[in-house]
């Protein structure tokens, strides 16, 4: 019988300016009791080589965070299989 190992990953989807750098989505590995803030840190590390560090930091501080379809605070816990949408700056009219 095949052993099923639960993958401790969340899917991060990007809207706005981060989508131009990161692409539509990335997968982030999490630990037990990880929070959105931990996921953001991981995203920051992975995107830092691709854009200005200060700008990236500000963008992540400003972005709106939607966890499984609901706005969530930085300290919200994330679980394997969750989808975190990062709505980063964009402007229209």
């Amino acid at each position: 019988m095949e052993t099923v190992v639960e993958r401790k990953e969340v899917v991060v989807k990007f809207m706005g300016v981060l989508r131009d750098t990161a692409g539509p989505e990335m997968v982030v590995t999490i630990k037990d009791n990880s929070r959105i803030s931990d996921v953001l840190q991981d995203v920051q590390k992975r995107l830092e080589p691709l854009m200005d560090k200060n700008l990236l930091s500000k963008i992540l501080r400003y972005s709106r965070l939607v966890l499984n379809g609901v706005y969530a605070p930085d300290e919200a816990e994330v679980k394997p299989g969750d989808v975190l949408m990062i709505i980063s700056p964009a402007a229209g009219g």
Binding site: R61, Y62, R64, A90, A91
Partner: protein
């Protein structure tokens, strides 16, 4: 600086040139402010919008035609036949550059011509000419014909109305060099006056008080714009224009879908800016920028295959894309681009048209209207052919369906009745644009109290609330209530000040609306406004337009600053804002308090005096 405006009396056939008094110029600056000043004083109280006595103001700001970035946005204002109150709208492009090059800051149009007429301006030569041969022509044909007729050493620029305005549809815009201006039926007031077009040729240099300082300040602004990931080179506007926000708005649950029944569209990816960029806009390479613009948000859509093949047009921008797309349940890009093309061709307001057709589709699906009322059109959500048919009929005001579309959503709901008013999505009679206010309470407040009815830019709080343009803290989060009224009031005055300058609001995504724009204004005008005085120009304009409503509408007040029943009573069924309705009253209280208005939303005498609007007091008290 000294500025000259033209005063046109179509009844007498007379044209006068008038210098704007310097103290008035400083106080109202231009564009929205100056239009409000002239129209408040020159339109007799309570005259019908469709009357010779009503007037239309076309007004520039001090930065138009200068080296300032995106310095192209001019104002068209009047008493609205759609709402019965104030309306003003803005277009970019090249038309206003030419007006200033001819030596004019604005035009006030009154009276009513006996026969179709157009205004011809070539520097000091200003004449009214017979337009009988172009009456009935669509906007693009009119522009082509008048350019051919008047082309000489330079190409004339043309502002025109379309067939919809000639037939007095109520949801029309003027088209100036392929760009639309004005909501609330402004073009139809010109149609009533039988003024078909304004052709301009100018050879003069736009003079400013201090050219060196202006270039210096413009350079600072340009450099900031270029570096910004939204407004800069290969930024989101250059790639996708304002439509770059479709996916973000949908993720926030705020994308109007099927007449605002929900804020999540299952085909959002298909109609996203990314999708348009990668197909109809050829990777963002089909840009059609305004002069001196870094953002370059406008793109040319070329439909190469399918039933709409051959159509080439600018757009669609975010507003039209959503209102003619998801709000009508349509997910086909070619159809949406075609629909937008038709609104331009007939001179229809794309927001109002998409809103009204979405409403009629809901009525049709609920059985409140039948094919009997739609001249046989199967007006269901997502029916692409029905959307196009409704626009063609609305643009030509043909048949029962065309009349329903052309009258706008408030009147259509009154005709249909049966409770449909509950989901007629308008404020003060102006159709709601492409943000769902239950998902961003600040936008609800903006819609409710904007001076032209439901407007997406008076001010635009959505970016701060839902798109990451402000930190994640009170009062910027979408469901915050506390502090929102005062914040929206401050933002409104700043936006209104920018509208008075003549630069495009979209540069404020890359530069500071005060810190960066004010130095350019001061260099151009020599007025040396402080930051406080500059913002007061916007506040003054907003209070004057507010007073216009009080003067024109006998029972005007708080009861008009509201939202459709659906936004206040029907919780959103899906998305992050599931279960939300707009808690309007506390936000409105805060706004009135911050604005210095009384509990009924009327500017107090003290506030009017503080703003130097003493001449208004005896008109509304």
């Amino acid at each position: 600086m000294s500025e000259t405006i033209l005063k046109v009396d179509l009844t007498k056939g007379s044209i006068a040139k008038e210098t704007v008094p310097p103290e008035i110029l400083k106080k109202f600056m231009g564009s929205k402010g100056l239009a409000a000043y002239y129209l408040f004083n020159e339109i007799p109280p309570r005259v019908p919008a469709f009357s010779a006595e009503n007037k239309v103001a076309i007004m520039c700001g001090p930065l138009i035609g200068t080296v300032a970035p995106s310095s192209v946005k001019f104002c068209v204002a009047t008493k609205s036949p759609l709402t019965g109150g104030w309306t003003d709208g803005y277009a970019s492009g090249t038309w206003a550059d030419m007006l200033r090059a001819a030596g004019y800051y604005g035009i006030i149009i009154g009276g009513m011509a006996e026969k179709p007429t157009y205004l011809y301006i070539e520097d000091d030569k200003v004449e009214l000419r017979d337009a009988s041969d172009i009456w009935g022509a669509n906007t693009y044909e009119t522009i082509r014909l008048l350019k051919e007729r008047h082309r000489s050493d330079i190409e004339p620029t043309v502002l025109t109305i379309g067939p919809a305005a000639e037939k007095l549809a109520l949801i029309t815009t003027v088209i100036a060099e392929y760009r639309a201006a004005g909501r609330g039926g402004v073009a139809s007031v010109l149609g009533f006056k039988k003024l078909k077009a304004i052709v301009v040729k100018g050879h003069k240099e736009v003079k400013v008080a201090n050219p060196e300082k202006l270039e210096e300040a413009a350079k600072v602004a340009r450099e900031k714009l270029i570096k910004n990931p939204i407004t800069g080179v290969r930024g989101r506007h250059q790639q996708m224009g304002t439509s770059n926000i479709v996916l973000g708005v949908n993720a926030a649950g705020a994308l109007p879908t099927r007449n605002f029944q929900t804020g999540v569209f299952e085909y959002a990816e298909d109609i996203s800016g990314e999708s348009f960029r990668d197909t109809l806009w050829m990777g963002g390479s089909r840009r059609r920028p305004c002069p001196r613009c870094i953002n370059q948000c406008t793109h040319l859509a070329v439909i190469e295959s399918g039933k709409w093949a051959g159509i080439v047009d600018e757009g669609p921008d975010y507003e039209n894309l959503v209102m003619l797309g998801s709000n009508c349940g349509v997910a086909d890009k070619n159809t949406i681009a075609t629909a937008e093309f038709l609104t331009d061709l007939y001179g229809l307001d794309g927001i109002s048209a998409g809103n009204t057709i979405g409403f009629l589709m809901e009525c049709f699906e609920k059985g409140l209207i039948t094919k009997e009322d739609t001249d046989g059109v199967n007006l269901r959500f997502g029916n692409e052919d029905a959307l196009i048919e409704a626009l063609v009929r609305g643009g030509t005001v043909t048949g029962k369906l065309g009349k329903l579309v052309a009258m706008g959503v408030r009147r259509a709901a009154d005709v249909i009745g049966q409770g449909s008013q509950k989901f007629a999505m308008h404020v003060k009679g102006l159709e709601m644009p492409a943000y769902e206010p239950r998902a961003a309470f600040g936008m609800g407040l903006c819609y409710a109290r904007s001076d032209r009815g439901a407007c997406h830019l008076r001010p635009w709080t959505f970016g701060a609330e839902c798109l990451g343009l402000a930190p994640r803290e009170v009062p910027y989060l979408p469901y915050d209530v506390q502090g929102k009224g005062a914040w929206v009031k401050t933002l409104n005055d700043v936006f209104a000040a920018v509208d008075c300058t003549g630069v495009c609001l979209f540069i404020t995504f890359g530069v500071d609306a005060v810190e960066d724009i004010l130095p350019m204004v001061n260099a151009a005008t020599g007025f040396n406004y402080t930051a406080e005085e500059y913002i007061k120009v916007g506040e003054r304009a907003s209070n004057l337009t507010r007073a216009f409503w009080f003067r024109e509408v006998s029972d005007f007040g708080r009861n008009y600053d509201t939202l459709p029943w659906r936004c206040l009573q029907e919780p959103l069924p899906s998305g992050p804002a599931k279960g939300k309705t707009v808690p309007l009253e506390p936000m409105l209280n805060d706004y009135y308090k911050a604005a210095g208005w009384d509990a009924n939303g009327k500017p107090t005498k003290a506030k009017l005096q503080e703003l130097g609007l003493d001449f208004v007091i005896d008109k509304i008290y």
